[in-house]
Amino acid sequence: MNAETPSSDSPSLEVKNLVKRFPGAIALGGVSMTHQEGEVLAVIGENGAGKSTLMKILAGVQEPDEGEIFLRGNKVRIPDPASATEHGIALIHQELNLADNLDIASNIFLGREPRGKLGWIRQSEIREKAAEALEQVGLKESVRTLVRDLSIGRQQMVEIAKALSFDARIIIMDEPTSSLSQYETENLFQLIHTLRERGVGIIYISHRLGEVKELADRVVALRDGQNAGEISKEEISSDRMVQMMVGREFSQFYQRIERPLGDVALEARDLRTPTFPQHAINFKIRAGEVVGLAGLVGAGRTEMLRCLFGMEPATGGEIMVNGENVTPKNPIEAIRAGISLAPEDRKHHGLILEMTVGENLSLPSLKRDQNKGFLNRKKEKILIDQMIDAMSVKTQSHRQIIQYLSGGNQQKVVLGKWLGMNPKVLLLDEPTRGIDVGAKQEIYKLMEKLASEGVAILYASSEMEEILGMADRALVMHEGRLTGELSRDEISEESVMQLATGQTRETSQSTAE
Amino acid sequence: GPADSGSGSGSSEKIQLAYITNGIDPFWDTAAAGVRDAEKEFDVECEVVMPPDGSTDQKRLLEAILARGVDGIAISPTDADNQVAMINDACRVTNVITHDSDAPDSDRICFIGMENYKAGREAGKLVKEALPEGGEIMLFVGRLEQLNSQQRRQGIIDELLDRPAQSLDNLEQDPVGKPIEGDKYTILDTRTDNFAYERAKSNAEDAISAYPNLKGMVGLFAYNAPACLEAVKGAGKVGEIQIVSFDEQDNTLQGIIDGSIHGTVSQQPYEYGYHSVRILAGLARDDKSVLPESGFLEIPIVTVKKDNVESFWKELKELQGKGKAAQDSEETEEAE
């Protein structure tokens, strides 16, 4: 417990006037920040505020154009990731960065393998230590599993385990929970508490303000690459944080309006997914209904949504849209039947990173708007402008290459792609993953609006608040099984968790129909 | 080589000739030596052009030579029947003669060479000498698509089967891939290697494996017999399998001296190079007397066996040495 006495005159980490420019964007325009020994410092800000850029600089992934970094009062340079490791700084990247051809253990120790002479790998030592790290984060997988066989959520946990396995003095977590559900998140929090007690400093970035409230000793806010204020533990409240980030007051978060429900728009009858063919899935969603899909990481939500969208055709059962059997064998059939899916993994499935914002937005609707096979550039432009506007995508122009947008803005484009298609059934897989409060609210509003226009919405979410706040009804899954349905009145943190961990409730079955 | 270093003054006075081969092969190295000697003797400049990739390349290079202009071209057509138009195009702007392989239907002025079919028959005779008892024979060649390899092959076959000489205008060929059986000799197969020496060797090795009774191997291209020799040595069957060769690669001649190759048929490529340049130089100076009477200058075939190999080789070395010396001095001149 020697870390209980942080010396206030030389903080463990201090940055002064960091500037980072990109062609066409200034990510950081002179940011300063201090981090005290053993504290949990939360960094918040809207999408594109510069949080990740700041962290990448600290981890040696990028070099600042101007500014200074001090560690325990000494000025340092961090030119590459290896020297960040030497300084005891570990970063959990916002976007997954794993070599998916290697197994979990190799990934955790990549670049820092316990080695013998001549670079000999000590394989058993790696496996042992990796297993420990996995246990710490509560991931029940063999360390020999290849990373490419893991779902995104589990890959995220591997990333966390990787950072933990360092003997780091400061661990930076850039949205570590963005694809974790409540259960794993709590696990992570436990871990953070343990680490703090051990004197390890944490810098925590999240758009989930509830988490920040629970964890942070201090909160630093960034806005447009500038410092936008700082509050201490006592002052932390959602309103204050939002105000710092957005620069104005922010009122009610979830605004549910009562809507009249239409006929059944989407129905799954005895649906069997390729990964869990032993469980039949049955549910109905009515037009204008917003249904949440909850579950732990790996519960099979993504799998089911992919099935509904025809990406991985169902191995059994039927999918009905407006009472018609459509059971799509591929996405084209799904789209034709009026089903759209905004996928979870935006880097690999949602976007074509090297293409422009505009080209990404119009990709699904090109076919509809075509002019005998030719591009209809006029319609395309109108659609793009409309969507950039509707989703308030922060971009210089629609010609910007999308990989240079911040994560949140990228996510807006993913949603925008599908809203342009006027779907009957909208499937959203983690629609607010990694996006800021403002954008989140816009997306919620959009969902409300679409629902009131008669679109049936099924959204998978790992964020409990989102299920509690948005859903008219909730479906809960556990290991590929639909463990229950909760009506609006039944949705509560406990009831969702109960079903998500596999404890079936007697009442849930009766209310389901 | 006679590369134009850009100064231009010297080269514009001298007569410019081009000697185009049908590929890259040691055979042509000897021919180039003849070209170099004649260059000196007749005070002309002649570029030796070896197209690496067959007909297409030959056409491309010929076009480029015509584009920059020459006073005469000697060409060895890869596919005479189908290159008539191309050769005629060249005839329209300059003097064209053929060497090694003729294009009789074209407007070329004359042909220097000998008949590959005859050479084939000579090789057949060598085989008969080496294997008076008869036996199984394999043929090896770079590419069978070329006229010269087809004629050589057919010459050997006809000789071994004691058939009468065929007319070249309408050569009847035995199909590839089936054994051709005569009274004494059986020609098992003809294997091609696409000019890859390593394939030539592995083809020979595989033939030794596949045909335990193999008695003779004939290499139709210069590098084939040495490759066969390597394989025979590896199998420990020197003397057991007789080898007959074409052309005069060092390894072949050494093999004849050692007694591991029975003999070779030389077309004297040096003479091709020499006479091509001599005739073209004459024509460029409007001297028609250099032309052979019938339009065909026959270069005699030389059969090299153990008894005459040493003198043949010595002479060859002298010729090549002269050619090389001429070339070297030229290069040093250029460098200055």
């Binding site: 949602g350 096979g373 | 007909s55 056409k59 584009a67 202009g69 191309m86 590419r143 070329q146």
Partner: protein, 328 residues
């Protein structure tokens, strides 16, 4: 557009250099020849560019060229079939070859490299088998048909210089390909799936069908190229025609701005790429550089060109960054 500038610069440099060194480079005869060869290689390079844009590769085109050229000469001269029957037949067969590759790649998920490498061997073998390894040709017949490859068209009011017929073919194909790639939804689909096939699939694009299309286009153009090469050279060696052309075509495409990672490419660039290669070959001969230096020179000129291009781009990017920083 920017990607083309480098290669265009190289082309201009080589042309100007050669023209200064030797006046015969600009002679009508030489220009016509160079244009003709560029057109022939341009046609096959455009095909290969389609495949490269999808992130694939086609090593078989040299052999497809060989097969189509051989079949043409064989059926016309030896079998005496009608060209009106043979040419469509060859094009349809080439199309089927592309379809075959495409199906193996999209349905069985085999690696394009492996599939087309097997194709390289297989079609070469078939050409040699059909003709029993004998050279084929048209002799002095089929003069009318051969105009497709060797014909020239006079330009009104210009004397001495005529445009080779293959140029028009290339022009037509390039325009269609350019419009397809840039102005139709399918072109956009190709570019998208070349970059990220999964994301394209999630956007409702029938990626398999588009990939199939690219391979079909590639093989068909190779088949057409084979016809033209055979008609041009007049002499077809079943074991030789088209050998190594896959590398030339791929090189032309890559020099012209296609990335082998997929998703990038411009038709104009590809044609310029093909032109650079042809002009280099021509220049070497025109400048009387010995043939055995050919490869060394082409290799080093291209390498130097690519390196200079990269350095210039970096320099420009640095300048731009400094300028934009000082403005703010």
């Amino acid at each position: 557009m920017k990607k083309i500038l480098g290669i265009l610069g190289l082309l201009i440099f080589v042309c100007v250099f050669t023209a200064i060194k030797s006046p015969s480079f600009l002679s009508a005869y030489n220009m016509e020849n160079t244009l003709r060869w560029t057109s022939l290689f341009g046609v096959i390079s455009i095909g290969v560019a389609f495949v490269i844009i999808t992130g694939g590769i086609d090593l078989s085109i040299g052999s497809v060229i060989g097969l189509s050229g051989t079949t043409l000469a064989y059926t016309l001269s030896v079998k005496g079939w009608s060209p009106y029957l043979v040419i469509p037949m060859i094009l349809i067969c080439s199309m089927c070859i592309g379809l075959f590759h495409g199906l193996l790649i999209t349905r069985l998920k085999l690696q394009p490299f492996v599939v087309t490498l097997c194709g390289l061997l297989l079609y070469r073998g078939i050409s040699r088998y059909i003709t029993n390894d004998q050279s084929q040709g048209f002799g002095s017949g089929f003069q009318g048909l051969r105009q497709l490859a060797v014909g020239k068209v006079a330009i009104p009011f210009v004397e001495g210089f005529m445009i080779p017929v293959p140029c028009f073919l290339l022009l037509g194909i390039a325009i269609v390909a350019g419009i397809f790639l840039n102005s139709t939804i399918y072109g956009r689909y190709l570019l998208a799936l070349g970059r990220n096939e999964m994301a394209a699939k999630y956007s409702g694009i029938q990626t398999e069908r588009m990939t199939l299309l690219a391979y079909v286009v590639c093989s068909t153009l190779a088949g057409l190229g084979g016809i033209l090469f055979a008609l041009d050279v007049n002499s077809v060696q079943p074991a030789g025609l088209g050998e190594f052309y896959e590398l030339y075509a791929i090189a032309a495409a890559v020099l012209g701005g296609c990335s082998l990672r997929g998703g990038e490419g411009s038709i104009l660039g590809v044609i310029i790429g093909a032109a650079v290669l042809r002009v280099l070959y021509n220049a070497i001969n025109i400048l009387r550089i010995p043939t055995h230096l050919e490869f060394a020179i082409i290799g080093s000129v291209i390498l130097a060109g690519v390196i200079v291009d990269e350095l210039v781009k970096r320099y420009a990017a640095r300048r731009r960054a400094i300028r934009s920083a000082s403005q703010e």
